[in-house]
Subunit: 89 residues, 5 copies
């Protein structure tokens, strides 16, 4: 999984019918100090993550292993909201 | 999903028979201000996206989860046309 | 799919038995003006692409969705020979 | 598989229900001398790897091929703790 | 597939039980002149490749399409030992 921060939302009216009702979040990659990187991914939210939340994003076929995304044309999904990191010194 | 902009079309007469009838669009990656990056992908269009549209592209095995691309040798598909992004300040 | 140019062939006698009879092409990535990049991939050819051809390469599990590569340990396959690109100004 | 070093742990209370009970480790990529790179991945631990361990991480759909991660929305899993590398001079 | 050179072996006693008996090789990426790059991958060897051999590595779910790696948590496998490359001038 990659570590990211929700920075916004994507609005799209015209889309594959399998995607209707899904929420697409903009997730910027972050480092271990939560500093934003330039790269980002658009991920479906299944855990009601909000803007500003640090999250874990699962990619690829594993992104279809949640109840909401099963068999959907989705390749990135937010699977957790991070409380904190314990990083060894 | 990645965020991109349709910048053109690929013409290919000789191709795998499973790909006949598909439209291949050139999609350049963009940043959150829709600024074009150098990198791009060739994606099958299933939502009638046109040149200039900002789109979401699904990659990998998830690209085969649309009605048109099921079981096809396709690894990137346009699944939505983006209306707008809400990006937090 | 990625856009590339066939620049050569790989010869390999000792290989997984599932790969016997396949043709492995060296495909360099190209930009929208067909300029060669440094990066490349080795792809199975299913459309009789020759050296110098501009091609589309499908990667990952989707590379196993052609008649020739089904269930084979192949992660890249040439699926089309490109005639031309229409790129918007 | 990629070679990495466990540098910490991720705590996340709110998550996909399929992930309950899993341990998420922060794994930084390392080179052949175990020197840390900047990049990292969050991986589920199935071999009781601890902070400081050099590990192998399997990614993508293959990350779901362990007893603990089968059918779970997980795209990276620690599958081995490395004892040593034999690198040719 | 990617082109690489076997530069060593990984020893790991503690590992997922599905991996017992597999040989893990360190494979550095090479260019078309077999010059070593810095990047590398750990791949399961199914063709008895030895240190110094130039090899093809299959990644992702396709790495599970060999007799030895079927249904295993393996995302990279050596599928061929390269005899030579024919590269066009």
């Amino acid at each position: 999984m990659i570590l990211g921060k929700v920075v916004g939302t994507v609005w799209a009216t015209r889309k594959d019918e399998e995607l209707v009702g899904m929420k697409f979040q903009l997730v910027k990659h972050v480092d271990l100090e939560y500093k934003l990187k330039d790269s980002f991914v658009v991920a479906v939210d299944t855990v009601q993550a909000g803007v500003g939340d640090i999250v874990l994003v699962t990619s690829g076929s594993s992104a279809r292993q949640t109840a909401q995304t099963k068999n959907k044309p989705v390749d990135a999904v937010i699977v957790a909201v991070v409380d904190k990191l314990d990083v060894a010194d």
